[in-house]
């Protein structure tokens, strides 16, 4: 009876609402953006190394742009991974995947190495670490993954979820 009255008043917009359980703000987590950012780091390293121009100023401009964007993409990797690790992974998932902490720490370190220098092997290692993180993430959702060559330079093998309809 009381619930029905309150429900009626709620329908009139007279009762304020608060969230108690939901995984706010939206519950949408996906390692895809982190993977794309990691691949972008490698691509930007390649462009910085391979860029050629007879105009030294133009070449300096190209490399400055690559360096700036590489910095941003590496930071994006860190941000995206931190969000999934901090907000999505809860106690039961961490118990099931105890290596996540070390893996996330390794990603933070490797992304920083990619910011500090232009060693392609660091970029490749970053992609591989994020690949491993993506595999664990999809495993927590009981979704299979596959490694396919991304259809754009630098054409590295990336982890993709195998989704049903």
């Amino acid at each position: 009876m009381i619930y029905s009255i309150l429900n009626y008043l709620d329908g009139k917009g007279l009762i304020a609402r608060a969230s108690a359980h939901c995984d706010i703000p939206c519950g949408i987590y996906d390692p895809g953006p982190a993977l794309i950012a990691a691949v972008s780091v490698v691509r930007l390293m390649d462009i910085a190394h391979d860029g050629a121009s007879e105009d030294p100023v133009a070449l300096a401009n190209l490399r400055a742009r690559c360096t700036l964007r590489k910095e941003e993409e590496a930071e994006k990797v860190k941000q995206e991974i931190r969000i999934i690790w901090g907000d999505y992974f809860k106690a039961p998932l961490l118990e099931a995947h105890p290596n996540v902490h070390a893996l996330v720490h390794a990603i933070m370190q490797k992304a920083s190495a990619c910011k500090q220098d232009v060693h392609r092997e660091d970029g490749l290692a970053l992609v591989e670490l994020v690949n491993e993180f993506a595999e664990i993430f999809w495993r927590t959702k009981s979704i299979e993954t596959t490694r396919k060559t991304c259809p754009y330079p630098p054409q590295l093998k990336l982890v993709y979820p195998v989704l049903a309809d």
């Binding site: 429900n7 608060a18 108690a20 359980h21």
Partner: protein, 79 residues
Amino acid sequence: MLSPGAFALFKRSAIYRDGDVLLINHPRFGKIVKRAIDVNADSLWLEGANANSLSRESMGPIERARVQGKLVYHIDRKK
């Protein structure tokens, strides 16, 4: 634990203690209901009753001024 759709009555209070279920005006998450832990003079931490709730780290320390009241009564949805 509050059930989905429950109606809850909150009361402002001068004193909040560990274990109180509070209505918070959170800077990131808006109006949320969480249990208080580590309450001190200026701030407190929050935890959810549900294992899948946001982590205390993600909710961060909360200023006392953001506490809008503590749970005194609730009516769950009819089964």
